[in-house]
């Protein structure tokens, strides 16, 4: 089974306790919403942060809906509201 790199940016990096995690997702975890449930099980702080609708999710560098299914993602990024410029 391939590893998936989870990336947490900005304030989410602090909530996740680090910017990057290498994980082996179970086969049945195949949507961003499923990944959120899986990684935030037992972590109420992270669960609350990731549940906020203004968090965007990119699967393999493409912003997708939370219920968009993927097949073998290499990289999943959790993106809090942007503040560039």
């Amino acid at each position: 089974m391939n590893e998936t790199r989870l990336l947490f940016f900005g304030p989410l990096r602090e909530a996740a306790g680090g910017g990057e995690r290498l994980v082996q997702l179970p086969d049945e975890v195949a949507t961003p919403a499923g990944v959120i449930d899986w990684i935030s099980a037992g972590d109420e702080v992270l669960a609350a942060r990731l549940a906020q609708p203004d968090i965007r999710i990119a699967v393999d560098q493409k912003i997708v809906d939370r219920d968009a299914s993927f097949d073998g993602a290499e990289e999943i990024a959790f993106l809090p509201p942007f503040s560039g410029g």
Binding site: F9, G10, P11, A58, Q61, A77, P81, S83, G84, G85
Partner: protein, 155 residues
């Protein structure tokens, strides 16, 4: 489009852009700089992080959108990442066109998109502590101006 990991010179960038577009009748530009903060709680530094790969692609996408919306000759975008001191440039945007309205509007549009549609995050360090900058409601209102065909190409 450039993501700059170290300090850049926006004056030189503008001079280069102008020389490359001498046939343009109008050039508009914008420079964003790190604010000094409050007198009693000054900003010590600003740290800007980004998502490499996605940031470049999102910027290319809305730059291409600007080129479709307005009759532009060229666009330049430079965005800093990393640690910056007050007064340092964060962002430089310039647009060249035959006439001023297209150049002004394109720069305004690009800045609105850079503020809230490109994966950058700012963290401000002050004497009182460190905090992440949240987008303001004005930022969302600004970007909404360009949606739903409210601003058709009028030039």
């Amino acid at each position: 489009m450039t993501i700059a990991p170290a300090s850049f010179d926006p004056d030189a960038a503008l001079a280069r852009f102008r020389r490359a577009n001498v046939e343009a009748g109008a050039i508009a530009s914008f420079i964003g700089q790190v604010r000094p903060g409050d007198a009693n709680d000054p900003t010590e530094s600003l740290a800007l992080e980004y998502y490499p790969g996605l940031a470049e692609r999102e910027i290319e996408n809305f730059a291409a959108d600007a080129l479709k919306r307005w009759p532009l000759k060229a666009i330049e975008i430079i965005h800093r990442v990393g640690a910056m001191a007050p007064g340092e440039p964060i962002v430089f945007v310039a647009a060249a066109a035959d006439h001023r309205r297209a150049a002004f509007e394109a720069v305004d549009f690009l800045m609105d998109y850079l503020k809230s549609e490109a994966p950058f995050w700012k963290q401000e360090k002050r004497a009182s502590g460190t905090r992440w900058i949240e987008p303001r409601s004005e930022d969302y209102a600004d970007i909404a101006r360009w949606r739903d065909g409210e601003r058709e190409r009028k030039i």
